[in-house]
């Protein structure tokens, strides 16, 4: 069960391997509870295209769940 969804839009400007990175990304922190009630944090990053795919799929889910 998803308890909380936090997000952050970041821009990686520079790194030690590449001085001119200029790479935007979406970082997500999910707070989830399993069947026993134990709460865990899960975090991951998405590139912008990955995020947009994620968003599109969620919209599809919303459309379907409304009609079921």
């Amino acid at each position: 069960q998803l308890i909380d969804f936090q997000w952050k839009l970041g821009m990686a400007v520079s790194s030690d391997s590449c001085r001119s990175l200029k790479y935007p990304y979406v970082a997500v922190m999910l707070k989830v509870a399993d069947h026993s009630g134990q709460v865990k944090n899960k975090s991951f990053e998405m590139t912008i295209p990955q995020f947009q795919n994620f968003y599109r799929q969620f919209k599809e889910i919303a459309a379907i769940i409304e009609t079921v």
Binding site: C18, P24, A27, F44, F54, Q57, A62, I65
Partner: protein, 209 residues
């Protein structure tokens, strides 16, 4: 011997090998391997500074993510330097960067991603159902499975393989974690609202200043 190093045919292979080592993290690409396969007649003492020079040039170009104007200016400056490169070599480097720029940039971006990434996503929606254990009729539920994992070094396709390197299985991607989530309609809409906030943020960020 200098003539050998100036020859452009093996330079393309050298740049590929250097890129594999510097950007894609492919192990096993030693100086000796590159020399023996690409410049077998050049002694190691001469080859070493030469490949270091080429590696330095490639790293500068990648680090600055040069566009083609910057690249031309940079390479021209290199040809004018004492102990720099020839204009033929500049042409090979230029051609190499133009065809590999995107992949190298992607690889550098991946190197800077230390957090886990979203590797896969699948979902289904379950309709109304009734359980004998509970009097409640279950409302529709969306079940989503997220595959989350660290971006390990990917095995890059071996189109550059004028150099033979033993295959390294440790390059295989690290184990993924599968997270299974259930959402009812309310939850789906709550998350959707958050996602639209992200989308708005992205649009603001991407707007030309």
């Amino acid at each position: 011997m200098a003539g050998e190093l100036e020859s452009c045919k093996p330079l393309s292979g050298l740049l590929s090998g250097l890129a594999q080592d510097a950007f894609y993290g492919h192990p096993g690409i030693t100086e000796e391997l590159l020399r023996s396969q690409l410049y077998p007649d050049v002694p190691i003492e001469e080859f070493r500074p030469f490949q270091a020079k080429m590696r330095g040039i490639l790293k500068s170009i990648a680090s600055a993510d040069m566009d083609f104007n910057q690249l031309e200016a940079f390479l021209t400056a290199q040809t004018k330097k004492q102990g720099g490169i020839t204009s033929d070599q500049a042409a090979v480097i230029s051609k190499f960067w133009k065809s590999h720029k995107t992949k190298i940039r992607e690889s550098l971006m991946n190197q800077s991603r230390w957090d886990s990434g979203l590797r896969g996503l699948s979902w289904r929606v379950d309709g109304k159902s009734q359980s004998r254990h509970s009097a409640e009729i279950h409302t529709p539920v969306a079940i989503m499975e997220l595959e989350i994992g660290k971006s390990g070094q990917k095995q890059v396709g071996v189109a550059w393989a004028k150099i033979r390197v033993p295959f390294d299985h440790t390059l295989a991607r690290q184990e993924s974690e599968f997270l299974c989530l259930e959402f009812d309609e309310i939850k789906v809409n709550q998350v959707l609202k958050k996602l639209s906030e992200v989308e708005e943020s992205i649009s603001t960020l991407m707007q030309p200043v």
